[in-house]
Symmetry: C2
DNA sequence: GCCTCTCTTGAGCGAACGATCAACAAGGGC
DNA sequence: GCCCTTGTTGATCGTTCGCTCAAGAGAGGC
């Protein structure tokens, strides 16, 4: 039976019908972020539409393909939430490097300690998309490189031009960074709440880790010094 | 050259046909671990069978459902690789607590710094399975709890019976732990190789983080002391 | 050689997937 | 009131999903 429907039920969709294209698109993007964060990027367009209270083909009116919608999510969640202030903070010569690093991390973690941010990030990594590596490449190049450069100067060590920044030096920052990120991963990806105040936990971690950072940095750079420049005393 | 037979390739499948049930089952489990680690737990049984060089229905001869196969992977990768020696190490009274923690982490990280281990763990977390939370609950209960208990004693602090272990104390260990795990995540989940020796990086992180740990622990426990017991000097 | 046991496969089922298309319907201009 | 633009939907296509089933095929006992 094919019956091209005589009567027709108007629509069971509870969502406000007939939105402007702009509003509908924003609604779809925000719904997609919440939905794909919850179920992973393998989530189904039908279920997404059902949650939005719209028909599934409407998604394809606003985004030609599911991949295009996901690409839009990347822009919305990662590129758009990148704060240019972070790059200014870590270059702020009026502050000691440790304080710059602390302020950057507190701000940065507040941005990424977010259900959608962390889960879509990890999901993209698992699916082999290059978003995570590109994003962390930005952190490395735009945040850690200027920070390490000024840490060299602050400790009266050779500049990166004289002695290139070593992988070990980046790992110093990534180590602390990773400990802070892991706090959110445990809660939002692994599902262990613990009931702790994650911001407070991270502040305590920074208090514990930062005081020794400069000394460790000097030791790492000193160990990598070329013989002609002499060893640490 | 392999030539166990004169001419003629017996089958397009590179996998030896007509294996014993035991061998076939092991082959399927190992193939499934590698495959689902690569593509995530949403991977398809047809593609898994193709990679194994067998027909897809054969999978269902050995595992009644895809979920059962995944459950088997959990046992194989997580429960079976849990090393009872870890629990012995952190209780070894002949070593200082910091050295026990170091030895545990070095061993533990060597186990989990593994493509399949980390990626399936994260994938399970995203899909809402309770494996990650249960597993980290084991680490907390069987490793961190005895360790913190002995750290209390080593620092002449009240025992957990007098003053229960606080969430902050667990976070001290999880902080260092998380920094070490993140080294592997960056490489094996996010796809940033960096070309560093991850074992060496983690050893350096432990060298940087452990010396201050006991002092921080005393400070954390002191701050949580009941007023009657007095404050830190 | 033949039978039997069991490992293995091709064909296929029902459901769900992303994506398409023609038809419907809510506004705004006139 | 009418028309035209445009947001929206039901029906449906081709494919792929997990899973089933009857038939094929290799190894060992006799």
């Amino acid at each position: 039976m094919v019956s091209t429907h005589p009567l027709v039920v108007p629509s069971p969709a509870p969502s406000g019908r007939r939105l402007s294209a702009e509003d509908r698109e924003r609604q779809i993007v925000e719904g997609a972020i919440a939905y794909f964060a919850e179920v992973g990027l393998d989530g189904q367009t039908r279920e997404l539409a059902r949650r939005l209270g719209i028909a599934q083909p409407l998604l394809f009116r606003y985004f030609p393909t599911k991949a295009a919608l996901i690409e839009r999510i990347y822009e919305e969640v990662y590129l758009k939430r990148w704060d240019a202030g972070w790059e200014a903070t870590v270059r702020d010569a009026s502050l000691p490097c440790l304080e710059r690093f602390r302020r950057f991390e507190i701000d940065y973690q507040r941005t990424i300690d977010n259900y959608a941010w962390l889960r879509i990030f990890v999901s993209a990594g698992l699916k082999g998309f290059d978003l995570p590596s590109r994003y962390l490449g930005m952190v490395r190049a735009r945040i850690f490189t200027p920070l390490l450069t000024d840490m060299r100067a602050e400790s009266q060590l050779p500049s990166p031009e004289e002695q290139p920044l070593a992988a070990d030096e980046y790992e110093l920052l990534f180590g602390i960074h990773g400990a802070l990120v892991y706090v959110g991963l445990r809660s939002l990806v692994y599902g262990i709440d613990g009931g702790v105040d994650r911001d407070a936990v991270r502040a305590a971690m920074l208090d514990a880790a930062l005081p020794g950072l400069l000394a460790t940095h000097r030791r790492v750079v000193g160990a990598a010094m070329p013989p002609a420049a002499g060893r640490a005393p």
